[in-house]
């Protein structure tokens, strides 16, 4: 508790001095944890690393002055969507045996082709970015009020479309996840269909 309080007080002084360092640390944590996500063989470990990655991106959002979006990232991405993933992994009975099977699926040679191609893409992006000046801007908070006004005025049709999309998602997930009814007796076999 004492150490936590001491850290908190010091962080508040530190925060005023320099948030840029926080941005860089969070960026490094995000990259490392994301690399760990795609190299794990155990799905649960990968999911936990993904949660760490999402939380560090939330820290970056906070540094950028997008507090509302940072909260959404933690609540919806790291909370709801990851819980959905973890429940499905639990239903699939992932154990050490399947983890070993997974290890057989990925050989080191498989990383070469996609790795080279995507690294070429990354190199091109870096080239494009390097041609501009690395402009440093001072962040200013975009308040939730501004976001809400923009969301429900300019993008109102988008909100309605998102609602329809979520409805379609619910119905689709229900329809796909529904188990086929087994007839209580072979006598009723024709009726259940």
């Amino acid at each position: 508790m004492v150490v936590g309080g001491w850290l908190f007080v010091n962080l508040r002084i530190f925060e005023k001095k320099n948030m840029t360092l926080v941005f860089h640390i969070a960026a490094i944590v995000a990259i490392v944890s994301t690399v760990l996500v795609i190299t794990q063989t155990n799905a649960v470990h990968a999911l936990l690393y993904l949660v760490v990655s999402l939380l560090s991106v939330a820290v970056i959002f906070f540094v950028l002055g997008a507090h509302f979006v940072a909260a959404l990232e933690v609540i919806i991405y790291a909370g709801a969507i990851m819980v959905l993933f973890i429940f499905v992994v639990m239903m699939l009975n992932i154990n050490t045996e399947s983890s070993k099977k997974e290890e057989k699926l990925i050989t080191p040679a498989m990383w070469v082709g996609p790795g080279i191609l995507t690294l070429i893409l990354l190199g091109e992006f870096i080239f494009v970015l390097a041609s501009g000046s690395n402009q440093i801007f001072r962040t200013q908070e975009v308040t939730p009020k501004q976001v809400g006004l923009s969301l429900f005025n300019t993008y109102l049709i988008g909100v309605e479309l998102a609602g329809m999309l979520l409805m379609a998602g619910i119905i689709g997930a229900y329809h796909l996840g529904k188990e086929k009814k087994k007839p209580a007796h072979r006598f009723f076999k024709g009726e259940a269909e």
């Binding site: 996500v37 795609i38 801007f137």
Partner: protein, 102 residues
């Protein structure tokens, strides 16, 4: 508040996107492929929020909210499909699912 270099932020978004893309191309387990898609969506959202912070406009954050809603819908349908595939084929290897007869 704080000073953030714009190009470094964009670079982070692109690196995260590329890691997700590598994961999507290399992994054969469907759950990991879905996770890689999540990583890529999140990277795209990061780029939007960065733009929103740079020009102090709310539009980027609105787009992030739409991406969030889309990701939630996509994940729910994708996970239902994964459960269905596992029940039918007893495997998550996407290469062994080559007989989609419904």
């Amino acid at each position: 508040m704080s000073a953030v270099p714009l190009e470094t932020g964009l670079l982070l978004a692109i690196i995260l996107f590329v890691i997700g893309l590598i994961g999507l191309l290399v992994r054969r387990n469907i759950i990991f492929m879905l996770m890689s898609i999540e990583i890529m969506l999140n990277a795209a959202g990061l780029a939007f929020v960065l733009g929103s912070a740079r020009w102090i406009q709310a539009d980027g954050q609105v787009m992030f909210i739409f991406i969030l809603a889309m990701a939630a819908a996509e994940v729910s349908v994708g996970l239902a499909l994964i459960l269905r595939i596992y029940n039918t084929f007893k495997t998550l290897d996407s290469d062994s699912i080559n007989e989609m007869k419904g």
